[in-house]
């Protein structure tokens, strides 16, 4: 999947359109943010004022909402997003060491993106695939029953 690259100029016109498409009222803030993130991969900070004006709320409130939810990002993310599940089952079955391994392998910490904008490493509270724990999500694919070997393979293959 080709996620938009980081340096892409943000099309403010499109952001204004999205705001209008979602109805242009304050109850639509989260759907607007979700839509922007779907299209741009993150919420460009410069979009905050545009959203605020369009929805007739304050920029600080838009930021307040964005910063509250774990799934909203204000920085561009890597082409591939690797998400390690931190749910109970995954934790019990060694999810933490997977995370450590990925951190070491990619040279970034949780929540960061590699300098070449290739990978972002994230965690999620639970993806509800506990029976296959530990799980790692890459893009939209869930990889169950992960272990350090499989991670190594993935890292080598360049798939992650």
């Amino acid at each position: 999947m080709d996620k938009p690259a980081a340096s892409k100029v943000i099309n403010m016109e499109r952001i204004r359109e999205i705001v209008m498409e979602c109805g242009g009222h304050k109850w639509a803030l989260i759907p607007v943010i979700q839509k922007i993130q779907n299209e741009f991969g993150y919420i460009p900070p410069e979009a905050i004022h545009v959203i605020a004006i369009g929805l007739k709320i304050f920029p600080s409130q838009v930021q307040g909402v964005i910063s509250f939810y774990a799934q909203f990002y204000t920085k561009p993310r890597g082409r591939q997003v690797i998400t390690v599940c931190r749910g109970t089952a995954c934790h019990v079955r060694g999810g933490e060491s997977l995370l450590e391994m990925l951190e070491n392998g990619l040279g970034i910490k949780e929540g960061e993106t590699t300098a070449d904008m290739e990978y972002s490493l994230e965690t999620v509270a639970c993806i509800g695939v506990c029976a296959l724990a530990p799980n790692v999500v890459i893009g939209k694919e869930v990889y169950g029953k992960m272990d350090t070997q499989k991670i190594e393979q993935l890292l080598k293959k360049g798939e992650a």
Partner: protein, 541 residues
């Protein structure tokens, strides 16, 4: 002539991650290639046994295949579907006896379950409304809308003894009655599908495998309360459930089960979808409402209760997915039937997500009051590697631990609460002797601490303090009075926090403190981890 058969490939999130998508495609191609005109290839949602995925079931025989890979497809198609010879190597193998079990119904994991909420899961195609209808779906709605007055519906639910499956176990009939008796020009019903407890995935499974059940329940709730708009608040981390819900809603609308004048009854009802954005606390009712309103999902004090002033300031009734999915079954089969299942005060069944140190992990639905040992040993197949059971953690981060010395504990609301845990969302993590209880408490607290919205002082600052203490204990740096301080803060957080998150998050700490205080003391005083788990304290073996 051979009977028609259908081969169902599980397309739940779990099996899909075992590449069952490819299996499904491949099967279709293979069946077409072989020209098997008497075989339909179809798919289902989750069977609750994802660990054994990809799961493939051949109906009506009931042959149950596990761990099916795309390479196995030619053999299944050729040997089983064409030649009628099931592929034994792909059968479920009983972990205790090692014997292959060919039929769905004979698998121990399923044999002792009683599936009321998960009734259709794994048996119908969730993207086909006709499957649901053929299985008796929307019969209840029909009955409700055409034969019952709203109050009768509420009476029926009250009679069934149904209690909320979202955690608190509040009697659903009474909740609906409040909703009904609040006067307003506009009311809302909301299905809480924000399932955020780490280690719980039953709502996901229901929505992926049987979305119409929740939809039907929501419409009935709307009718009973007098609401014409319903919302699904669903985690965005469940993309497949979201997708299937959208499809199901669309199909229901096409059939006139949603929209204006449903089934000619004069009742109008619309359903709206709201996707969450990654905040556990949004499962709390007032936070959920704020989140639907696109605000920060921070709980507010109650009263006013949502039933008085909820979504957009209007009376709002919120129910869990499983609560709503139970409703059509209750109406359809009668309150007495439902009330006949379960224990004295907890009626019906409970769905548990069994995980941890257990042989069969998966979704388990049992009558309320089923004993822990039945669940763990008979259904769950016991503890692997010959280890001993140490404790069971129920209710996720809001729950507590029940030590192994209470094996006969009946799993119902009252008993679990009595033991310092809760039913909660139904997470059930099995722990053996290699589990460190301090570490378990630390883990759950690290979750709640990270998910605290930060609004109120005890939770925002208290969880941080407790986490600091637990972390230093597991690192061997515990101090003499840490246990006393933990107690003090935990009590304050529990008794003084604003919302359920804070009020319950000390439970894992308090319950481990009361049952496994010696482990804490070993960490603090002897700088030892009895389970040998905490890395800085690990013995060289």
């Amino acid at each position: 002539m051979q009977n028609r058969s259908t081969i169902f490939v599980c397309q739940g999130t779990g099996c899909l991650s075992s590449k069952s998508g490819l299996v499904y495609e491949e099967l279709k191609a293979e069946v077409a290639k072989l020209g098997l005109s008497n075989v339909d290839v179809d798919f289902t949602g989750c069977h609750g046994f994802c660990e054994k995925g990809g799961i493939v079931v051949v109906e009506p025989e009931g042959i149950f295949y596990t761990h099916v890979k795309v390479e196995d497809v030619p053999e299944i198609a050729g040997s089983h579907l064409k030649d009628g010879k099931p592929v034994e190597r792909l059968f479920y193998h009983d972990p205790a006896t090692g014997k292959a079990v060919s039929y769905y119904r004979d698998i121990n994991f399923y044999k002792k379950q009683r599936r009321v909420i998960l009734y259709n899961c794994g048996h119908i195609n969730p993207e086909k409304i006709d499957h649901y209808i053929a299985a008796g779906g929307y019969r209840a709605l029909n009955k409700v809308l055409l034969e019952m007055a709203p109050q009768q519906v509420i009476d029926e639910i009250k009679k069934s003894g149904l209690r909320g499956r979202g955690g608190a176990g509040f009697p659903t009939g009474r909740k609906w009655e409040f909703g009904r008796n609040t006067y307003s020009d506009k009311k809302y019903v909301v299905c809480n599908a924000d399932e955020g407890d780490p280690g719980a995935f039953m709502d996901r499974s229901v929505l992926e495998a049987d979305p119409h059940a929740a939809i039907e329940g929501l419409i009935i709730a709307g009718y009973a309360i007098g609401a014409n708009d319903g919302y699904f608040y669903i985690r965005a981390e469940y993309p497949l459930a979201v997708k299937r819900l959208y499809i199901a809603i669309e199909q229901a609308r096409e059939r006139g089960l949603l929209g204006k004048n449903i089934l000619g009854s004069g009742f109008d009802f619309e359903i709206h979808m709201k996707e969450g954005a990654g905040a556990f606390v949004c499962g709390e009712e007032t936070a959920l409402i704020a989140s639907i309103q696109s605000q920060r999902g921070m709980p507010r004090p109650r009263p006013p209760y949502p039933a008085q002033s909820g979504l957009f300031g209007k009376p709002t009734t919120i129910n869990n997915v499983k609560t709503l999915a139970s409703v059509p079954r209750i109406i359809d089969r009668g309150a007495d039937w439902f009330a006949g299942i379960g224990s004295e005060k907890s009626k019906g069944t409970t769905v548990l997500a069994l995980s941890g140190k257990i042989l069969n992990s998966g979704l388990v639905e049992v009558p309320m009051g089923t004993s822990l040992s039945t669940i763990i040993f008979d259904i769950g197949g016991g503890i692997p590697d010959g280890k001993r059971l140490k404790a069971v953690q129920t209710g996720g981060p809001s729950g507590g631990c029940i030590p192994a010395r209470f094996p006969d504990t009946p799993v119902d609301y009252e008993t679990l609460t009595l033991l310092g845990s809760i039913m909660g969302s139904g997470g059930m993590v099995v722990m053996d002797e290699t589990t460190c209880m301090v570490e378990v408490a630390r883990y759950f607290l690290s979750f709640t601490q990270a998910e605290s919205c930060g609004k109120c002082v005890p939770c925002r600052l208290g969880t941080k303090q407790m986490l600091e203490i637990l972390t230093r204990i597991t690192k061997g740096k515990g101090k003499e009075n840490d246990i006393a301080t933990l107690y003090e803060i935990a009590r304050t957080v529990k008794e003084c926090s604003l919302c359920g998150l804070g009020q319950t998050c000390p439970n894992p700490v308090l319950s481990t403190l009361s049952y496994f205080r010696d482990e804490y003391e070993a960490h603090i005083k002897k700088k030892k981890c009895p389970a040998n788990q905490c890395r800085p304290l690990r013995r060289k073996v």
